[in-house]
Amino acid sequence: MRLAFFRNRTAIAGGAIAALIFLTAVFAPWIAPYDPLDQDPIFRLEPGGEEHWLGTDDFGRDVMSRLIWGSRISLVIGFASVLIGMIAGTALGMIAGYYRGRMETTIMRGIDVVMSFPDLILAVAITAALGATLVNLILTIGVVMIPGFARMAHSALLTMREREFVIAARGLGARDRRILLKHILPNIFGELLVAGTLWVGVAIRLEANLAFIGLGVQPPTPTWGNMIREGVDVLINAPGISIYSGLCILITILAFNMLGDGVRDMIDPRLRGI
């Protein structure tokens, strides 16, 4: 399996870019040439040069330093929200698929209700209700991620619960919790991991969308979505601010999509090259 991953050039490239972004986020205080919040009104909207490689924004803040620091918010929200969605969604989907009956109807109809709204509309409404803070954003995007994981776990459980090893475990007197966690979960984890990798990109895009509307982590904290929005106000004079910030989002999402595709090929070789 490891060999299959290392043979997949797309996955390696995606993984390498994702790792680079992760390292940038971790070492931001040491890599960033300036404090991302330091304002210098004399050097407003400076083009890129020796002192400020990517120029400065409307408040004279160094764009490159803000981009480097911005990676932290995107990655934290991307990973944490997918983790919440994965844990809650998988638990709900597994319970619904394992116990069936009224429990299944209740959970899956609840999932249908959440899926009645486009992702972004749901995220906008919840963020507006809870308030735009980092924790609330993670929770909001996590909630939006739940239905996808729940449906995936549910459909996997429907076939898995009738498999011989599950029936055998039940026959040996194993408790439901043990069957679900020790026998079934490891068998569906690969599929969930692939979806999780791909959905990190979706979560990062959702965060950028919310930030662009003004419902993201509030300024002056640097986030890529905030920076695109601020850049739009000075698009004619300093297009670089929006272009560079958007490019960061694009590259990050691209990296996770490439990595996700690669992991999927690794787990299910039938899909290789498709």
């Binding site: 009645s116 972004l120 509309i121 409404a125 969308n209 272009i243 498709i274």
Partner: protein, 313 residues
């Protein structure tokens, strides 16, 4: 088919009822007082109290909920607390713009995505295939609002070919098309990338089927096999998943409408949130849920058109 559609619509009613309840709850927990939002921070306490009473905000929650359901059942979406216009009129004035944008994006998606996907599958592992795979990967990764900004920079600011913002006069064809071109391109990129990928993988799957081998061994030309046998069968998942993807486009249209300052449901929604216009917000959200249910229903019915094996019982 009509009977099936009616039955499916009937099944959707309980879900829509729960959706309405959810919308009611979400809007009620929004921070801030709607009456203060409508009158402004400087308004006197008497004026705020009077407006609260007029809006029914002093009633118990269950009564507010019943009134909300009652009004909706009569098709009354209420009056905007900010503009004073009926919300139904506001929605009716912008829905054509959102539907037009979404429809144009879907059209672009299928128009370009299917030929791209076919060319990639037919020339598997060639330069064309490699190019299409990179294109679809980027297309699926680029946020629509970012692409919108890039398109504005190139086509409106640098080349001055198309208008920067606005929706234009809806019934003036030329004005309308020039205003919808860039937003549709920004939104359609995702759909094109998705359809390209779907078409490619679907065709590659079908090409392995026995009946395709039989068609080849009968001496049919490659072209005939591709269009008569492979593509028709490959279209089934493309239509099915493409239809579901329309829901994603409806959501993403919000961002495109904001970037291009184009009238639409998304702009109405975000405006309602920023102004704390609760009546408009809850109605727009209900309308979005209604749109999703309709889209899902149309997708299910479309299966029958592309796959004659499907019978609606």
């Amino acid at each position: 088919m009509f009977q099936y559609a009616m039955r499916r619509a009937f099944i959707s009613i309980p879900i829509l009822l729960i959706v309405l309840t959810l919308v009611f709850v979400v809007v009620r927990v929004l921070p801030g007082d709607p009456a203060v939002a409508a009158l402004g921070d400087q308004a006197s306490k008497e004026a705020v109290d009077a407006l609260r009473a007029r809006m029914g905000l002093n009633d118990p929650l269950w009564l507010q909920y019943l009134k909300f359901l009652g009004s909706l059942s009569r098709g009354d979406l209420g009056t905007s607390i900010i503009s004073g216009f009926p919300v139904a009129t506001q929605i009716a004035s912008v829905v054509p713009y959102t539907l037009e944008l979404t429809f144009a994006a879907v059209l672009l998606g299928y128009l370009f995505g299917i030929p791209l996907g076919v060319s990639a599958a037919v020339r598997r592992n060639s330069f064309v295939d490699y190019f299409n795979r990179v294109f679809s990967l980027i297309g699926l990764s680029v946020p629509a609002f970012y692409l919108g900004i890039l398109l504005i920079l190139v086509f409106s600011v640098k080349l001055r070919l198309l208008p920067v913002v606005g929706g234009g006069e809806f019934w003036d064809l030329e004005d309308n098309l020039t205003h919808v071109a860039l937003p549709a391109l920004a939104l359609g990129m995702m759909m094109t990338a998705y359809v390209t990928r779907m078409t490619r993988s679907s065709i590659l799957d079908i090409m392995r089927e026995d009946y395709v081998r039989t068609a080849h061994s009968k001496g049919l030309s490659d072209r005939k096999v591709l269009y008569k046998h492979v593509l028709r069968n490959a279209l089934i998942p493309i239509v099915a998943l493409g239809g579901l993807y329309v829901v994603v486009l409806i959501g993403s249209s919000v961002m495109v409408e904001i970037v291009f300052s184009r009238p639409g449901l998304g702009k109405l929604l975000v405006g309602a949130i920023k102004q704390r216009d609760y009546t408009t917000l809850q109605s727009v959200m209900v309308f979005y849920a209604f749109l999703v249910v309709i889209c899902n229903l149309i997708t299910e019915l479309a299966y029958g058109l592309v796959d004659p094996r499907i019978k609606y019982n």
